[in-house]
Symmetry: D2
Subunit: 386 residues, 4 copies
């Protein structure tokens, strides 16, 4: 008899207005089980809710704890071929222990000791790195082949955002004398669930020439000038050709928005709330086909209105302190803390000065989400609660 | 202590080249558990395989068995508000007993008794109906409101394909004296996993005027003429404005392709293999944002080359008989049989005359898949095995 | 001295608020002439009017006269390599005697005697044929090479619309015992002015096999089924893959719209005014990159509201009779009559029964325009006068 | 008798293989004239050439002469409502004395005296300004209304490129004590020929607050950060939201390309030839729907290969000196000189040090063209002569 891999027992009663359980009805349900069938009428509440009601929970991870464990792993667990990366992923408490921050997004702290390299590989998963602290480690993102000539060494410093579209070879190397931590974001859960993943090993080692850290990547030299595109670049890939969005640019853009607001010209999302989206200069669209990334700045003393959105987000506090609310939960957050916002849960922020009480004290939040998936499929909705 | 909803126990050893399990390493893993973290290096084989390796199995459902159970349900289980539809879904044996034919696709037999109606509702899930047998039942698909004026009664007959993009109100009514069965295809699993679902009830009953079955729907009168679009239609929705793709057109297109091939002019996918894709006449693209639908005809005696593709498909045998191979499994199939093709599993067909040995004897296969999701996100691959 | 090819004399006075003409000012204008310069302030009224004010006139050409002259040319002027086509173009009376119906559009009557062929060539100009009377002549449109295998014989009958995107080889052949006339529409003036034209000769003669008239072209067998696209067709060209839009389909679509209106369901542009646009089934967009084509039916006794539009149109009366108004001019029109609507001139129609006073008596108008040019460049506007 | 506005006389003989001129043939041609018809066979050589053969000539305008005449006009001709702008246009010697640099493009020197303003207006023509010398004059580009709140003051300095999409209100003001000159580029000839122009007056005067020159425009504060877009900007217009492409960025991008080339990593179009295209950060595409703009740098001693392209270009020498070749014509050029490249004429450059023989000595060329028109319509071709 063909049957479910896991034993399954259908219940003959469920929805309102269903008939009494008679022997005939029981027999019908046993027939469903034998034929590997499940009726809609017992499942519709779970399958077709009035609005998204996430299987995931909201949760906060403290950066201090992550960093401590990552450092311990740096001393205990080698990085190399097979394991590929010393990356430790956020596992949403309600997703069965899987390393999934949300049903679609992966978020991990990655840690590299002085002199260490993570070997070259490529995968269909779209990825990025965001640096909350430290500097000097670089990543090496290649084109469509594992050749040295095709690679581009990209330095990483605090505040930098480094996207890497799927199927480009890449490795990492720490050329400094200090360990370094950063976060990785990928669409691993989305591709795992929808089953679209491809993976390939590259070279096991980088050349000495490749280990020299440049000041700027070649991608920045070609694509890092506002509103200008190189005539020499002709071929198109689905992701951004700009491989490092340096913090100095991001910070300047946010400062400019708040300055415009102060001058009475708008420019912000709402009072005291500046925000930029990392964009592909080739298309103006999202930086990766499945991942949106943004930096939000909430000026000192300002608060944002709760917003709901189809799909999930992961946030990391880049700077400042304040209070974050997701659904009914609130946390006081500090630099590096990470939290997730499940689908359709309202999220809002309030910037509050911490102990040092500086004059600036804005709350800076890095955010990434799966919104491009839903926008591409005409499934995206957003709602501002008032 | 914050912890996983379900008890989770991480294993300190996994990938090759991992260190011996020392107390320090054990402590590290217990620290991961406490902080809701999971290392990549123990999971990478599952998360990042060389190519998609589906959690789903291939499986065949016999139409005869489905139809018998559906008929029994027709006599035992009422259809109405709450349960909404008398739909009985294929549940892949390897997906935990959930009513998911594949990780992204829902396929169900729906059954309506003479005079019965299924109540009006709408949902973000994209849907279609395909009719393998019977006729006379119609579906009533509305626009963006539950008003009678906005609805369009669409008749259903054998071979007809009826798409219905998300968020349109719709109901069903059987105006004949015979029960009728058809299959429903939706992206329920995809939206359930990615958490994008919205649902709303419509009116509880249709008007008597709405219960008169027309020969052709209004959508066909406006959009059912090849290469012609009405100037009166201005607003765009994400799905096809054509609500019934009648079998007579589909059959004629397939006959034409085989006639072109016989005349030496190509026209087929490969020798003896004609195929059409249902297209949105407003864009030329897929008929639904998340679902592709096609009809394949394998001429008598012909066989197709195995093809692999990112994402999954569900097939229903519309006519003829033959042998179907998915991966290492083969079945002799007959009218109405349904089977699934998991991601990256090779699928091929051979048309073989059954007992009656008629002169025609082509094998006609209706297929739907999740390919538009992957194409929109630049994740689609296909490979012809030779 | 460098100077204008044609003697040019600039006038030193023009716009209001200009200074008196002094010797210094005269000297300035003579300096402009010498340096090949022209000031804006004397030309702005012509160059930048409040709205388009066409250099072209509206004009009506009577089909009877055109046909008579074309027939005379059929007996006096051979068709062959060099002259290429026996096509006689409408020359707008205000465009300097050039064979331009409007500043962007070419319209000509083409005439082929029994047994005659027009030789194969291709050009970047986008083209179509529309058949107002007669049948049996066919056109032979190829792909990207002048080989027999790539050609597709397309029959032509009354009411058929045959698009042919630029740079496809094509020839014509009259296999019947009667002469035949049709109209050609091209973007010759647009490409002549903007200087984008390429042209290449093909073969001088067709093969005997190619001279057999088919009932349907291969393009119709592949692409002539509503909402269905062949899986075998993979490469994309800028124009429609459907090479004949048969009258039976166009007529059915118009009848359906009027039937929907009578049933109280809208479907028409305005009361009594049905209209279809010829569309590319691969994209849903216009049938040619620079030319829009439509068929309008004004039911007997109905009248349309005046409409203005950026860009120009050419109309041909396909059937019926009535009154046409363009700007301040009105004509009573009959089958085959052609007229032009310059940019931003209001156009409207009234269907009136002629002598025979039949029950049908709708006024059928074929129209083509340059609207896709302006839509592609975000320059298109339309306005309904009330 | 209806007839051509201008007397037209058709010639009965033209193409090869045409019949002898008989009285019957003469009568046919007189019939054509009476009916406002022109045969294709006498015109095809002009209308359908093998490749574009421009009606325009190539020509060079010396900046020194332009500037002298503009300055004289500054003292003799007022600027104000009616004449609108003190702009003096290049008139191609072969285009009948019209102020058209090429069949599609307008190029003019605009000149504003200290304290002068040019009044507010808007038009459908797409426009830009490019500054070859001087600084301090600013332009004020508004949104979709003539209100002060919607305007954005944009400073202009040497090397800056300022696009302004059609139908935005704009004015100019010189707040300095020196006259200033810059060049205007528009698609006036294209819209004049295709008849798509709309024009509307705005306010006659600016407010005193609007006359304060800012360091950066608001558009730069919102959109001038590489790869970053503001979340606050939601509505889309067809042109770029970035209103000043500052020289410092353009120069840095060109330096970076040459540095990449020196380091062995490509990055240039060809050896010694760096080039950037001004892009719309919202789409990555051209900065204006009908106009492409680029800056080319030819390193000292380098030369470029001749290139042909559908459509026409206007170049201005921004810096350096060298030799320019267009078709069979060559000129030694200096700062500010302007020249035109007609459709399909090959153009190439050679950088040559002038008298001062500095170490840098690159030849910098600003270029604008009508290429987006042809690309949008699938009519664009380019060819590198070798």
């Amino acid at each position: 008899m063909t049957a479910f891999d896991t034993p399954v027992r259908l219940t003959a009663v469920a929805a309102p207005d269903q008939p009494d359980v008679t022997p005939a009805l029981e027999e019908l349900y046993r027939g469903f089980e034998e034929e590997l069938l499940v009726p809609l009428w017992t499942e519709i509440g779970d399958l077709m809710p009035a609005h998204p009601s996430s299987k995931a929970s909201t949760h906060l991870w403290r950066w201090e704890n992550l960093r401590t464990l990552a450092d311990r792993a740096g001393h205990l667990v080698p990085v190399g071929r097979g394991g590929e990366r010393r990356a430790i992923a956020l596992a949403n408490p309600s997703l069965g222990g899987r390393p999934f921050a949300t049903p679609t997004l992966w978020a991990a702290i990655q840690y590299l000791m002085p002199g260490e390299s993570a070997p070259e590989h490529r995968h269909s998963q779209h990825a990025f790195r965001f640096v909350v602290e430290g500097s000097g480690v670089w990543t090496c993102v290649g084109g469509d082949g594992p050749s040295g000539g095709g690679t581009d060494a990209v330095p990483m410093n605090r505040g930098d955002f480094l996207p890497q579209a799927g199927w480009n070879f890449h490795a990492h190397h720490n050329a400094t004398s200090e360990p370094m931590a950063w976060i990785d974001g990928l669409d691993i859960p989305f591709q795992w669930t929808s089953e679209a993943q491809f993976f390939e090993f590259g070279r096991d080692a980088l050349t000495p020439e490749e280990c020299v850290t440049p000041v700027r990547s070649r991608s920045e030299q070609l694509w890092g000038h506002p509103g200008l595109r190189p005539l020499s670049a002709t071929h198109a890939t689905p992701g951004s050709p700009l491989l490092n969005y340096k913090w100095s640019h991001t910070n300047a853009a946010l400062c400019d928005q708040l300055a415009l607001e102060r001058a009475g010209f708008g420019g912000t999302v709402e009072p005291g709330h500046a925000a930029v989206r990392y964009a592909n200069p080739r298309t103006g669209g999202d930086v990766l086909p499945t991942i949106r990334a943004e930096l939000h700045r909430v000026a000192r003393g300002a608060a944002t209105a709760p917003v709901r959105e189809t799909g999930s987000s992961v946030f990391q506090v880049f700077d400042g302190s304040g209070v974050v609310s997701v659904g009914d939960t609130s946390w006081t957050v500090a630099r590096g803390d990470l939290f997730v916002v499940p689908s359709w849960e309202p999220v809002s922020f309030r910037s509050e000065a911490g102990a040092t009480d500086s004059d600036e004290g804005a709350l800076d939040l890095f955010r990434f989400s799966d919104a491009p998936i839903f926008e591409a499929l005409h499934l995206h909705r957003t709602q501002k609660d008032t």
